[in-house]
Every structure is written in C-alpha cells, then in structure tokens.
C-alpha cells in the first residue's frame, strides 16, 4: 500500500509538471498556485479513499468531489454553504465562468492577465487531467497511457500560440512523465521483493536489470524512428528534408488565413497567386481624407537571396510606443519636398498577413495593440504573433511629394553607408550589367540614373503587361524578363530594383494595393489591386516610390512629378492620376483590367506563378535513398562475386602452372622426381584451400549442411551420397575433396586438376538441385557472406562487451559504494 500511495503523489506531481506549458500563456503565476491547490486536494482525496481500500470507481468519485470542492473554494460565487459546499448557485456561476472563458479566449491575446474565467478553466482542466492520470496510474496501473492527458495540456499553448512554443515547458512535462514511469516501474519491481544477485549481494533499486540493455536498444530504435519518420514524410513542412529540398523558395507561401512569421512570407508568390485568382474578392476597405492617396502599402522585399528578392525579418518597437515622424528627420532639406498629413481608416475584410496595410508614412495609430510593431526602415507594421484578419484600425500619415530637382540634388550615398551593403547587393549578371552601363552613361546624379532606368520600362522599348508569365525574381528570371519584355507588376518592380541596385543606388520592392473602386472617400481594394513597385533611397530624403509597371494596365496606377509615365510623354508630367485613377469611374476601372486579365487567367494555372524552383525535390531524395538501399543490398552479392572471382583466378592459375610442371615432370617414372620449391608447394596448397573454401561457401549459399567435424573426403562422399551432385559433378567434388586433403595433410599437395572447372560444375549441379528461393537467395544475399559478417560483428561486440566489463570492474574499485557500511561486502 505504501508503494501505491507514493505512486499517487508522484502522479499528482507529474501532472503539475506537465502543466508547465501553461506558463507561456499566463502573464503571472496565479494559475500555478490554484492548480497546485486543486491537484493537492485531488491527491489527498485519492490517498484517503485508497487508505480505506475503496474500489476504483469510489476513488474517482472522491477525486471529482475534491475537484469540485477546490473549485468552489477558489472561485466562490458567494452562495455556498459555509463558503465551501457548492450549491446550485455555485454551479450556475461555474457555467457562466465557462461561457465567458470561451469569449475571453477569443478576445485576449497571449500572454493573458489573470482572468477568473481563464483561471477557472485552467484549474478545471488540470484537475481533470490529474484525476485521469491518477486513475490510469494507480487504479489501472497503466502509467504510459497517462501521457495522453498530459499531452492534452501541452496542446493548449501549441494551439494558442501562432508561432512556435518554447521547448522548455515541454521538457519539464516530459520529465514529469518519465518520473511517473520510473516510479511505477520501481514499484512494480518492489512487488517481487528484494532483488539480489546470484552470490547473495543485494541489488540497488536503481540498478538496471539485465533486461535493461534490450530496453535501451528499443528506446534508441524508437527515438531514431521518431526522428527519421517526419524527415521522410514530405507532407510535414519545415522538416529537415523540405529545408534541404526546396531551399526555402516555396515555404511559408503565405496562404491567406495562415499567420506565419513576417520574415518568411513569400510575397511574390502570394502576389501572383492573388492576381491570378479568377474570382474577385474584397480584401481591404480604406477611407481617407487624402484626395489623391498613394498605394496602400504593407510589405517590402529588400533582401536579395539566391532565389531573388525576399523580405528581411523586420525589427522595431511596438506601435504603442509611438511612431517616428518623417517631418522631424529631414527638416534641413525640405526644399522641394511637400509633406502633408492626412488621416485614414482601414477595415480589413479578407486579408490575413502578419502585416497591416498603411499609407506611408504613418505617424500615429489607433486600435492597434502592442502586438504590432513598426519597422522604421522598412516602414511596415508587422506582428510576430497576430494576424491582420478582421482588424479595424485608423492612423494618421504623412504623404511626401518630391520635385525632381530636390531628388537630383540629393547627394550620392556614402560608400561606407550601411545601406550600400544592405540594399545594393545583387548577383552579377552580365546582361544586366551591360544594360545598366548603357542606360546610365553620362548621368551625373542618382536621380538621373534612376530615371533613365525607370524610363527604360516603356512601351517604346517594347515592354508590355501580361499576367501569365513566370514570376520569379532571380537572376535568370530578370534576364528573361528584360529580353522578353513581357510581365506584370512584380517583374517590373523586381527588374527595376535590380537595375537600380546594379547602378549603385539602394532600392527595394514594395507591396501594397493600388487605389481603386472609389466611392466618396472610401476605396474598396480587391485581390486584383494588389501591386508591387520599386522604392529608391535618396540620401537625406528617404525612400521614394517609383512604379515602373505600365500605367495603362493597372487600375489606379499613380504617377508623380518625379516619376511620370514614360508611355505618355505628351501629357503633362504632373498627370497625377489623382483625377485619372479615381475619376476614371470605379466600375470601368474595375472592369477593364478584369477584362484584360480573364482570358489570361483561364490559360493560366495558378501554381506556375509561384517562385520558379523546379518543383519539389523529395522524389529525387526518395529515388536516391532507394538507389542507395539497392546498392547496399547488392553489397553482399558483390562481395561474394569478387571472392569467387579471386578464388577462381587462383584455381585457374594453379591449373596452368600445373600444366607446365607436369610437362617437365614427364620424365620416366622412378628416374627423378620433380622437386618443387617450398613456395610452389605453398602456392599449390593455397590454391587447393581457396578452391575448397569456395566449395564450402557455395554449399553454405545453397543451404547444404556443412559440418566442421567432417573431413574433406567425408564431405565429398556425403555430397555424392546425398545425390546433390550428379555425373561429372561427382568426380568434380571428389577431386576438390582430394585436393584439399592432400593440401592439408600430405607431404605434397595435388598438382594437377582443373579445380576451377570442378568448382564450376559443382556449383552448377548444386544450383540445379536447389529450389528457386534458395537460388535467388544465393545470388542476391549469399548466406556465406552474411554469416561471416555476422560472426565478425558478434566477435566485435563480444570483444567490446568484454572490454567494457573489465573497464567497469576497474571503475567499481573506486566506487564509494564499496565503503558504505550497511552494504554486505560481497
């Protein structure tokens, strides 16, 4: 009974340990105190009922009662009897707590404050788990099953947290589980009474049993399987294999509805995917008092990697700490720059991203909580945990307009400036270098160079808009685009960014919505309004947007004084589509691009828009692993074939030297004997041995019994007697036996005899006599080789075990246990 009581307490402690993951949800530790109280009450009730030897169901009832009592005491409704005994009013209170906990779970983000409802459901859940664990462990003696309810606790923070959960709480829970298992096992062993060795020495409780080695082996295999299986299964994302296989190009493809980390969203893939969607759906509604708003912007791709442009992981302070104001920063160079403050209100309809779309540059926000941070460099609002889904917020922003003169006056970026490394690195591509060199010759300042590149993407130069193109932004894709001159916004933006970077000016790709579907001051932005453009950094001024995509193909395209539409030079450079975009009636604006895009959409399969890495690579891995496996399987057969070839070469060589010796040994008998040198004798012996070994291996391969107590002669006789060989093979096997016995026991080995031929004929005869399965096994997995390897492995392991045993004995000499007084000396 003592063991059971002990086990019950261990179960309670293990449950508390398993509840450790809850700490990631709560801000404070109140929940732990309450859970400890509840679990302690349950353990006490269980111990009491066990003391009375109550049946298992009674134990369960008592634990439920203890849970109820504990909850009543911790979460009183004020209607209890003696402030302890629950009344119907208490239960109603519990019901309301449960109901409100559901709402609170939805409305509060982690880490939550101490809310009664959430604390209640936590204590209830942990208490329930404690009851189940106790019943499973002590009542049914199945502690392994108790891992399942413990895992249920762990699944709560996993479900709550959008990003990954720290592994430490899980380790704590796992330690509790292991403790439970060990305690149960020790208890089980104690049931047998004292353990002692054959020589009467007591065995310590924690000393492993002789079966421990098998257990360890099983555990290692289990862990290996648990680690390897997810690697091999392709469906599991972010596994090691998918990392290896796809190089990160297609991962985190930012499917709407999945949060994902802001640094890992593949913006290009999402952009082309949304643009190619056949149905049109509203994503964002924005209301602003800006008469001519620029694009609603949410993300940038500023990091150049192997597969093209991608987002850097943003860094910044929570928005609740305030946002920088661009007006403060460049006060001294405000000549030519007009900054106007406006206000906007955004309602997200169907847009789930770790970013919030805003107009640049926001200076203050409302209804955006501390989970959201602002990266002043990237000028994006992002969150590591929350998603933009269904958010409604408003902000004030400052729109800047620049005169070409102001931009032209901007000084060149200092060579040692950090931005140069961050924003001007591109992969060197010869075609691009030539093009940039041609475009920027004779241009004196950054703005002129950028304009030259910007103006290059014009209809004059043959550029046109089409959605059904490969959307990649790696070096080869850019060259393809510059050659084919057909693409959509993301290629235009990426290509211009690339070229500008090539010219030595910092640039990045920005993502957002064009302004369309205007009704009064409200714009309804759909997936077709998603857009990408280029932002160029001018020293002292900041990031200045340039949209190289042909304006005619984009609804709500916005052209500025510093970046006029190159396709419409006859229009005045102001052409601020302030009127063009919005006034070009919303319906037409919505319809015309649709009309242009629809036919393309049908021929277009949405997947091709995703970055151009050539499909998943796991089939290749599977094939490679399969090939490797086949190779491994053929190793024994290969080894056998090589062995046979070597021996047959020996035998053949023996036959040929024999021929020559018998030739000069053809003197009349009795006159002179051929006196052979020792080396020749040794060689003849070795040849015969090789032939015999080959015969024995062949016998083993074909599953013919080989008896170490049999002489070669007896073996040969047996083979003949048992009818395993026939005809010429009989003589062949006798010849082999004779050669071997002569080689082993006679003064002189047999010096003539076609041993190779004999071997071949015996092998043929054995093969003919064997059934198909034996033949197959002999050809593919020769038992002789496997057996030899197994023996070698056994010898090795025996040697190792012997060594470790000696080592352990030597260590035991120094063990302090030997001097313990209460231990018997032997």
């Amino acid at each position: 009974m003592r063991g059971r009581r002990h086990l019950g307490f261990v179960a309670a402690a293990a449950t508390l340990l398993a509840a450790a993951p809850m700490s990631t949800i709560y801000d404070r530790w109140t929940w732990l105190v309450q859970c400890a109280v509840v679990v302690g009450l349950i353990a006490g009730a269980a111990t009491l009922t066990r003391w009375w030897r109550a049946p298992v169901w009674a134990q369960g009832l008592s634990m439920v009662a203890a849970l109820l009592l504990g909850l009543t005491w911790i979460f009183p409704s004020g209607q209890e009897l003696v402030s302890l005994l629950p009344t119907p009013g208490t239960l109603t209170h519990f019901g309301s707590l449960l109901a409100s906990s559901g709402e609170d779970m939805r409305s509060y983000g982690v880490p939550v404050q101490d809310l009664d409802s959430l604390l209640f459901i936590t204590a209830l859940g942990v208490g329930g788990v404690a009851i189940v664990v106790d019943l499973l462990t002590v009542g049914m003696r199945r502690p392994a099953l108790a891992g399942l309810p413990m895992l249920a606790i762990y699944s709560v923070p996993v479900a709550v947290h959008v990003d990954s959960v720290s592994a430490v709480p899980f380790v704590i829970g796992a330690v509790g589980f292991l403790w439970l298992l060990a305690a149960d096992n020790v208890d089980r062993v104690r049931h047998f009474g004292r353990r002692f060795t054959g020589d009467g020495r007591d065995v310590d409780v924690w000393e492993p049993s002789p079966l421990a080695a098998a257990g360890r082996r099983l555990a290692v295999i289990g862990v290996a399987v648990a680690v390897l299986l997810p690697l091999a299964v392709p469906g599991m994302t972010s596994g090691l294999l998918s990392q290896l296989g796809t190089g990160g190009g297609g991962e985190g493809n930012g499917r709407p509805g999945q949060g994902g980390s802001p640094g890992r969203v593949n913006l290009f893939a999402q952009l082309s995917g949304e643009l190619n969607r056949s149905e049109q759906r509203d994503m964002v509604k924005v209301t602003t008092n800006d008469p001519d708003p620029f694009y609603l912007r949410f993300a940038v791709a500023d990091d150049f990697g192997r597969t093209g442009f991608g987002p850097r992981s943003p860094e910044g302070a929570p928005v609740t700490q305030g946002l920088p104001d661009p007006r403060d920063m460049s006060r001294e160079q405000n000549a030519g720059i007009t900054r106007t403050q406006y206000q906007a209100e955004v309602e997200i309809v169907d847009f789930a991203m770790p970013f919030l779309p805003v107009y640049t540059a926001p200076v203050s926000t409302r209804n955006v909580d501390g989970n959201w941070r602002y990266d002043p460099t990237m000028q994006v609002l992002y969150s590591e945990r929350a998603s933009s889904r269904n958010k409604k917020y408003s902000f004030e922003f400052v729109r800047s307009e620049y005169t070409p003169a102001a931009l032209a006056a901007a000084p060149q970026l200092a060579p040692e400036h950090a931005f140069r490394k961050l924003y001007t690195t591109v992969e060197p591509v010869r075609e691009v270098e030539e093009l940039v060199g041609r475009l920027t010759t004779g241009k004196r300042n950054d703005y002129d160079r950028v304009r030259a590149i910007y103006d290059h993407f014009s209809r004059k130069n043959g550029f046109s808009y089409a959605l059904n193109t490969e959307g990649g932004t790696s070096g080869q894709d850019i060259v393809n685009f510059l050659t084919n001159k057909v693409g959509f916004c993301q290629q235009y933006a990426a290509a211009m960014t690339w070229l500008v970077r090539e010219a030595g000016v910092p640039a990045r790709v920005a993502f957002g919505f064009t302004s369309a579907n205007r009704s009064s001051n409200t714009y309804t932005l759909t997936n077709n309004n998603l857009h990408a453009w280029t932002e160029v950094y001018f020293t002292g001024i900041g990031w200045v947007p340039f949209d190289p995509t042909p304006a005619a193909s984009i609804t709500g395209s916005w052209r500025s004084e510093w970046a006029p539409d190159p396709d419409a030079p006859e229009q005045s450079p102001t052409a601020p589509s302030a009127s063009a975009g919005p006034t070009a009636d919303p319906s037409a604006g919505a319809e015309s691009p649709d009309g242009a895009e629809r036919p393309l959409d049908e021929a277009f399969d949405g997947g091709a828009g995703i970055a151009p890495d050539s499909g998943p690579r796991w089939p290749l891995w599977v094939v490679a692993v399969a090939v490797l496996l086949v190779l491994l399987l053929t190793v024994p057969a290969l080894r056998r074939v090589l062995l046979r070839r070597r021996r047959q070469v020996r035998a053949a060589a023996a036959a040929s030297t024999l021929a020559s010796v018998t030739a000069d040994g053809d003197v009349p008998p009795g006159v002179a004997r051929v006196v052979l040198s020792d080396s020749e004798l040794a060689r003849a012996r070795a040849d015969a041995h090789a032939a015999w070994d080959e015969l024995v291996d062949t016998l083993v391969d074909f599953r013919v019994r080989v008896d170490p107590a049999e002489t070669p002669r007896a073996t040969a006789d047996r083979l003949v007697r048992e009818g395993l060989t026939a005809g010429t093979a009989d003589e062949a096997v006798r010849l082999l036996g004779h050669a071997e016995e002569r080689a082993r026991y006679a003064r002189e080995p047999l010096r003539h005899g076609p041993l190779a031929d004999a071997l071949r004929s015996v092998r043929r005869a054995l093969s003919a006599g064997a059934d198909r399965r034996t033949r197959l096994v002999a050809a593919t997995l020769p038992p002789s080789v496997l057996y030899r390897w197994r023996l070698a492995a056994m010898d090795l392991s025996a040697g190792f075990v012997g060594f470790t045993g000696r080592f352990r004995d030597r260590l035991l000499r120094w063990s302090p246990r030997r001097v313990l007084a209460n231990r018997p000396s032997r």
């Binding site: 009795g670 041995h689 024995v696 107590a709 007896a714 026991y745 006679a746 002189e748 057996y787 030899r788």
Partner: protein, 352 residues
C-alpha cells in the same frame, strides 16, 4: 606414389612392393575368413603398427581362425596359448629349470617367445597369469629370476575373448586392456559369405593348406615403411583433440591414455599405408577411434545405466569433434577459439 625412392638397410619398401606384400597377406587370410576384409586389414594394420590385437566376439565367429590365419600367413615363429584358469605365469613367460648336467639353472622360454603369440580365451586365465603378459606386451622383454630376455621383432599378441559368458572368467584389468592396440569384433558373416563358407569349409579346414606368403624380414620392412608415413601437424592435433575429448566427455569415467594417442597414430599410419597413401588423414583416425579407443575407456555409471556402450560414446565424440585447421579458424565454427596454446579441447556437446 612419389617419394620413397631411397632404400636403406632394413629400410622401407617402395609403395608398389608394400602394396604387393600387404595384399598378399590379406588375400591369404581371406581364403580362410570370407567377407571380412575390413577386419582382416585392421588386424594386419595392428601388426604393422607394432601393436597387439584383442578380438572380442561371441563364440564361433572365427576369432581363433583369424588369429591363426594371420599367424600362418607369415613365415615366422608362432606360439599358441590356451588360457585356462589353472594356467600359471611361468607357462607364459618361461621358467628356470635346474639342469642336472650343467649344474645350473637353465631358462626354458615360455609361450611368449615367438613373433606371433595367439592367446585364446584370455579372460579365462586368472589375473595373475594375465599379468604375466604386461611386461612383454609393452616392453617386448621378459624378466625371469632377475634376468631380462629380449623378444624378437615383430612381436604381436593376438588374444581372443568372449564377452558373453562372464561365469568363471576374469575380466582383463585396465592396464592389460590398455596394452592392446585395438579391439575388434568379428561380427557375423553376411549370408553370401556364410554360404560360400559352407562350400569351402565343408570338407576340410582350409587353414591347414594355408601357406605363408611373407616372412619376418618382410614384415620388418613393412613396419619400417609404416613408420615413415607422413603425419601432418593438423592430424596430430586432431589425434590429441580426440583423446582429450574422451578425457573430458561427461559420459566417460576414464579417458584414453597417452599410450592410446601413440597407438592411435601408429595404427592410422599403418592403415594409410595399407590404403596406398603416404600420409595420414583424419578419416583414418575417425575410422580407428572406436577400435583403438573404445576398449580403454570406462563409462560412467549413468552411461552404463543408459546402456550406452563405449563404442557408441566414442563414435559420438568423433562425430562432434571439429577438425583442427592448420591455417585458420573455420568461418563456420562459431565456438570461441581455443587460442591459449595449451591444446585445450574444443569438445563441446553438439546443440540440436
């Protein structure tokens, strides 16, 4: 087939002559004993191995006839002793008699002073008389009254005994049994041989017409040839293993003696030579293990209760004992290597 071209005084015979001489003896004996070639050859092998032969079988199967036929086939001195309970040691070894004429004791040689001594029903003599053979069989000399007399070469004792009737008999002591190189059983002839025997033996006993086909000198040469047969180290090791196995077998109270090892190898040489080989094979040892070893060992009480004869025990040992490999450990031999160099036995009961 190859080596012995050199011929020395009293030396060896070339193999063709050896074969001719041995075949002649065997054929001669077979004129009397039909259908027992293996037994006859074994008897001859014991002679060539300079050993002594114990023929043990039920009465009437030709024990004495075999002994006599072997004796008559060789032109040498043959003496026959009929062992009876009242036979005295001096009848065997000889006795010093006072000569009236010379006024001196004169040694009258006993029956053992011959090349071939046939002892019939040896277990009927008293142990005292049986013991008279101890010295002469092993040391080939007789000591009477402090004078030692050398016996001639070849010297061979062929004794017969009857294992069935134990009444009035004295079983051979262990020391005596150990001096016999081999014990053979005649066994009943097969029906064909028995039929032929009826024709041949119907009228007269053909043993009287048996003519010697060899003489003592030839036998000496044959013995010299046998001594020259090559024994590889592996075969020696196998012989030692075999004998050690009898000593370590759980079924045997007493194993074979080192003399047994020696005689096993000698007999194996003779058998190999009779088969025309100049080297000994483990097969020879395997074939000889039962005749040479079985009568020297004593089974445990358990084995006796289980009605296991020493023949069965020894032949089982032979079947289990692995051949020693002079070059390497057999890859299919899963037992731990006995590499301590002390010649520890590899014997281990076979697991089935």
């Amino acid at each position: 087939m190859t080596q012995q071209t050199w011929d020395e005084l009293g030396g060896t015979l070339p193999s063709d002559q050896f074969r001719a001489a041995s075949d002649a003896i065997v054929a001669n004996i077979e004129e009397v004993i039909e259908g027992k070639t293996a037994t006859v050859r074994l008897a001859l092998a014991v002679l060539l191995a300079e050993g002594h032969l114990l023929i043990e079988d039920v009465p009437g199967v030709g024990k004495t006839k075999l002994a006599k036929a072997l004796a008559r086939s060789i032109d040498c001195s043959v003496r026959r002793i009929q062992f009876t309970p009242d036979l005295l040691p001096s009848d065997v070894t000889g006795v010093s008699v006072y000569n009236q004429e010379t006024h001196d004791f004169e040694f009258k040689p006993g029956a053992v002073f011959a090349n071939l001594v046939v002892g019939d029903e040896i277990n009927r003599a008293s142990p005292k008389t049986q013991s008279a053979l101890l010295e002469c069989m092993e040391e080939r000399q007789v000591t009477v009254d402090g004078v030692t007399y050398e016996l001639q070469t070849p010297f061979m004792v062929i004794a017969t005994q009857n294992p069935i009737e134990m009444e009035g008999t004295y079983p051979l002591p262990e020391a005596q049994r150990d001096r016999f190189t081999a014990r053979i059983a005649m066994g009943y002839p097969d029906p064909g041989a028995e039929l032929a025997m009826l024709d041949v033996h119907g009228g007269r006993d053909p043993i009287h017409e048996l003519r010697p086909v060899s003489d003592a000198a030839t036998v000496r040469k044959l013995i010299a040839t046998v001594r020259d047969v090559h024994v590889a180290d592996a075969v020696k090791q196998y012989a030692v293993d075999l004998v050690t196995a009898t000593r370590e077998s759980p079924d045997l109270r007493l194993g074979a003696s080192p003399r047994a090892t020696l005689q096993l190898l000698r007999t194996a040489r003779a058998v190999a030579a009779l088969e025309g080989r100049d080297y000994v094979l483990p097969d020879d040892l395997q074939a000889l293990a039962v005749p040479v070893l079985a009568h020297r060992v004593i089974p445990t009480a358990d084995a006796q209760l289980a009605r296991r004869t020493t023949d069965a025990i020894v032949s089982e040992l032979v079947h289990r004992l692995a051949l020693p490999h002079e070059r390497q450990r057999s890859p299919y031999d899963t037992r731990p290597p006995s590499g301590d160099g002390t010649g520890r036995s590899q014997y281990e009961p076979r697991r089935r």
